[in-house]
Subunit: 600 residues, 2 copies
Amino acid sequence: MKGWIGKVLRVDLTKGEWKTEELDKDMASKFIGGRGLGSKILFDEIDPKVDPFSPNNKLIMATGPLTGTSASAAGRYMVITKSPLTGTIACSNSGGHFGAELKFAGFDLIIFEGKAKEPVYLYVEDGKVEPRDAKAIWGKTTHETTDQILSETDMDARVSCIGPAGEKLVKYACIINDKHRAAGRSGVGAVMGSKNLKAVAVKGSGSVTIADKEAFRKATLDGFQKIKANPVTSEGLPAYGTCVLVNIINTSGIFPTRNFQQSVFEGAEKISGETLADDILVRNRACFACPIACGRVTKVKNPKYEYFGEGPEYESDWSMGGCCGVDNLDAIGKANYLCDVLGFDPISAGVTIACAMELFEKGILSTKEIGRSLNFGDADAMLEMVRAIGYREGFGDALAEGSYRLAEKYGHPEFSMTVKKQEFPAYDGRGAQGMGLQYATSNRGACHVRGYMTSPEILGSPQKLDPFETEEKAGWLKIFQDLTAVVDSAGICLFNTFALGGPEILEYLKAATGIQMSLDELMKTGERIWNLERLFNFKAGLTGKDDRLPDRLLKEPVSSGPAKGRVVELAKMLPEYYELRGWDKEGQPTKARLKELGLV
Amino acid sequence: MKGWIGKVLRVDLTKGEWKTEELDKDMASKFIGGRGLGSKILFDEIDPKVDPFSPNNKLIMATGPLTGTSASAAGRYMVITKSPLTGTIACSNSGGHFGAELKFAGFDLIIFEGKAKEPVYLYVEDGKVEPRDAKAIWGKTTHETTDQILSETDMDARVSCIGPAGEKLVKYACIINDKHRAAGRSGVGAVMGSKNLKAVAVKGSGSVTIADKEAFRKATLDGFQKIKANPVTSEGLPAYGTCVLVNIINTSGIFPTRNFQQSVFEGAEKISGETLADDILVRNRACFACPIACGRVTKVKNPKYEYFGEGPEYESDWSMGGCCGVDNLDAIGKANYLCDVLGFDPISAGVTIACAMELFEKGILSTKEIGRSLNFGDADAMLEMVRAIGYREGFGDALAEGSYRLAEKYGHPEFSMTVKKQEFPAYDGRGAQGMGLQYATSNRGACHVRGYMTSPEILGSPQKLDPFETEEKAGWLKIFQDLTAVVDSAGICLFNTFALGGPEILEYLKAATGIQMSLDELMKTGERIWNLERLFNFKAGLTGKDDRLPDRLLKEPVSSGPAKGRVVELAKMLPEYYELRGWDKEGQPTKARLKELGLV
């Protein structure tokens, strides 16, 4: 096989056994790799109704056929499992170097089954597989764990691991690789923790074989040139990182503030990418084969918030910042750093803390439950909660369950800013209708990278759409959702798509794998993956009723700013979306469409 | 200061003391950094007649103002000292990540003085300096040393170190950083060994401050776009690495074969970059901030030559290959790998072995001296000699002195292919007259990167010159020599110059440092550096008589191929060169020119 390594590692943690399987070539052609292929395997192999923390759930680490090649930003790997936060299928995507090294070590995917009796980590070197005792590193931070495993295995290995949060089953724990990159959302790190699997270290001297080297060289050169010609990928992201969005989104009036009570944050400038570059940026850092280098190495010297690490990204800058009413960039950076070393998703954490802040300010929670006051804008309170979440200490234990379970526990689920129990990211759908529809229909709950409608609605790429308009948004969203499924599955970074579209990605894939297909077929593949995820969720018990938004977004008009007076007009868009998808009025995929997609 | 960090670390190894000094801003403006600034400091601080292995020699590790910035391929650092191989000033230049990290750790330069009583290494973290005991790692390979120091200091540190060859004062020992990058030529590693300094490890959370961020962003974007538009930097080097040159240079009839007895190698195809890509290439690797990624990660599976590492580069591919008549790429790769881990220059090693092969085939050396037969084309004999050099074992002890001392010892210095006792690289000057002049006049002995005349004479960049023509070569060479001095001193990779010229590099420097200068002034700076090096050498005892070439290149016409019948017409070019340089007929810089350059 070309592009793919052609090998799958299956590890039975219960028995401490493993075997190598051939990658099913037909399945790989049909689902590409990464997200698509991992979802197909999960779909085929587990009961979607399984308890996510049961040994019967599986955890799949998957690369795509482009991962580890010289295609632009081709360093992605994904973790697919059933999410403990949402109960849906989960696929979390991460950059860095781990994914490429996994392929160099000889495998496209690792499927983890069962549960180890005691903490273990897995070391894979050039096809050799060795489970090792992890008792001594259980409880350690992700950074300590990485360093320790490197010194025990090989200095040039790459490590993905969980921190205390994953061990303690924080519902939105993540898996950290290369110290600063995260398979971040939906609690995949908690599933890893539930299996007593502390880490995976990989090292390899292999490489990825390319089907048509000349065509691939041409495609990658074309890709790099387009990335260097595009202002977002050649200027905005390198100069300011993802936080370049703070001012843009705030000015557009969709920067959710104080748990979505407002949509413009008066402190935005203080936490913007520009301020970050001036105040705490040390330098940029790039993932494997990435010409963009959006990663921010940052340093805070103020002893109260001192750290040296990476981030914050736009999402954590917002979740710990605007969403909590906090405009202290040093504190936000430190909070983000704690999420990295303790190992949990800063989006869900920040939005959950914001929910608790609203509950506190509304008198639903008091200092008695929380152990302290918890007002919007209180940076130190926010930071204290972040630390508490990582160790599930004190009120952190309740916060570790996520915003929905927290708000429900105290009788007010309406203050939980979630879809399918997963917290919103940093765009208010009321001022960007396509984003609203995207959130409602995402297969893993509220998510900005399941079809990034911000691109046309706010950034004007590939063309500018009126964000307040509902018409045609369903059609645009479908294309974005399907294309994103392709990009993720291929193993390249979604940020490519600011400069590259379907045709360029198709050229990458054709040249790397040798599989010839049309752009229509490629988009159909994305649609197949989308529908497969939907099928998993329906089998897990979800229905079209779960394509909903919190009442705040549907009924409470935005209070001020450019989006003033607006709500998400979901009812206008959802039926059209279902129809375009070939689903029935209840959102159930029709037999005909599933047959057409080769899913039945 | 902008661009520069503004701090110099001075370490007295004899006393085990160190201090931080302010970088002299005027001196930095006048000599840029790296090679220029380091040479100026060496010139001012040591007696050029000093024994290179005396504690009175100094070893300077120097970065440029662009090192560690996001300018293209801005990861260079240099080692400046008096060379034990040539007796001239030495400046060896290396990529990887060490140079950038040295600046992040807080210093532009480190000046090592004296000699430690016992083996030590230096650890520098964010301005904190700590000499540490290196007795336990003395004798270890560069890879073992790097791993051990990382585990003792910080996993994210960067290490430059010597191997057994440096400890044993192999005359052309190098300093290896980041395991696979080398300050390769002129024996700088032996000077480090003579000081009992095993390694330097650096780690920092600092960054490089840019004077005009907007202008710098523009300059770097322009640079990247030009690199991606140029076929050498966007296709040739990424696809085939520096070994892309094997077929080009061989077809041009200037691929020195069997110690320069021929100039076309019948086995070239077997050791070409194309064959390397097909047979042993695992993947590319890029240095800090490099969009070219010419580095070759390679792997040989044949148990006899098994290794997994980096290289060979064009130069080592040739020196262990064509120059020794060897067409076995696996063996060449392994030889290159041994040079990396044992720590010595594969160019000098290969050419010295080739010299010994000629002495053996001519009956001047026998199996008695060597301990075995040593014929051209014998890959295993070549490999055995390489290993022996690294440990100075058996005949390796004689080879460790370099080709000139070896040939002289056995009464036949005419078979030493050297200038100023340093071995030639992989271009026969007889078929490229400008290269011939370049070799004769280089300030560090035979060298391809002291004005890369191959670029116009063979590759046709920036315009094609007739390689056999002597006219105007002196003028071209002067420009190339001066521009190269600028590029090295700035801290960016010379490979930039396939796509970028003086104007682009000037933009980088102006934006980074804030120092305004014209292109003329920039070129004058390069000329200043060139003349300073010349002055050092003259004070060390060299004269214009040392601007010579071996008789083989001056009197033995090329035997076959495109350059058949040609010799280097040095006498035609040298007087013109001296005149253009403003030197007298004996090659001595005139007072007037030195005054004009601000050197007296």
